[in-house]
Symmetry: C2
Subunit: 190 residues, 2 copies
């Protein structure tokens, strides 16, 4: 698949076939992509936690906020929850400044997931202290981002933006609509 098709296919998915299991080895292959991606000053301060078993995934789920614009949807119900998570950590023993390393890494991972027929969502709205306690994370590590992964069961379509309204929404058929700005509006001419 060429990169354009892969990027277009890599939407944010929030509903999954929860029973579908993903092996740790598969996640390690995605993290290998992150490992080989750019890092500010080549410092490579990121660490990765992998969760694949139903029990482990249940531990992570309660600390995540889902789809801020869908006010009457508390997140995926049982049966449609992620089958796996990657938690991206910043290792403060390396640096305190993680910059955009986790953005670069996350994009490599999500593209990898997409190529493997999976999908997911980068989640930044995390109850960080509660999750830290739950997983007994040493102080040295900062929780930067959670990647929720699974076999998507929802349809996501891109709409042309109307005005400045960036809020995604769901239609009656549970299709998830995401308004995107036009290319001509994001390329600035000075």
């Amino acid at each position: 698949m060429n990169l354009k098709d892969l990027v277009f296919k890599t939407r944010s998915y929030r509903r999954f076939e929860e029973a579908y299991r993903i092996e740790s080895k598969t996640l390690e292959e995605f993290i290998e992509l992150a490992r080989m991606s750019s890092s500010g000053g080549n410092r490579q301060p990121l660490k990765f936690l992998i969760y694949t078993s139903p029990e482990d995934c249940e531990k992570v789920f309660p600390y995540l906020a889902w789809a801020g614009y869908l006010h009457d949807w508390p997140g995926p119900e049982k049966g449609e929850r992620p089958s796996a998570y990657i938690i991206i950590l910043g290792d403060s023993s390396v640096t305190e400044a993680f910059g955009i390393d986790h953005g670069i890494a996350a994009q490599s991972i999500m593209l990898g997931a997409s190529e493997a027929g999976l999908g997911g969502c980068m989640i930044q709205s995390i109850k960080r202290e509660e999750l830290r306690n739950e997983i007994q994370l040493p102080d040295q590590y900062e929780i930067l981002l959670v990647l929720a992964l699974g076999k998507p069961v929802e349809k996501v379509v891109i709409d042309e933006i109307k005005g400045n309204d960036v809020k995604y929404w769901r239609d009656a058929g549970m299709v998830h609509h995401v308004p995107k700005r036009n290319l001509k509006d994001i390329i600035l001419k000075l």
Copy 2:
């Protein structure tokens, strides 16, 4: 090309065949990849500036710092400088919090460049105020990242890290060596 090969090929390049010209249309195709990548809360606050002519590229070059670990190398000499730049801006009229959007976008763009046989470098070490003055950038925009692009003329190899020494270096044959941490060392087991 599969994603793994593409990611592995997407190294940070700092020496280019400067005479090789890149069309604006090509850069727009890369920005299209960024446009279709994730954005925190789907806010899409990024804007992009494109520089492709030799004159325009000469304007941008003096405000960039190159390869922090190569202390006796001030950056690419004439003839080996980038043929194009994309400046990624944060539009503060959309939000003041750009999060990791520019990391995600930059990775999509650099992978696109790589697929097109080009290469480059994400540069965060920028004389931001001087560059702002040079390009007469309105206050509304924040300079987040400069992507230097071109046809690479240098060889970059990945080495296994020795101890914790992340500093890249150049050998006598001008091959650029980049130490990367091992996969087993970045996947944390709690």
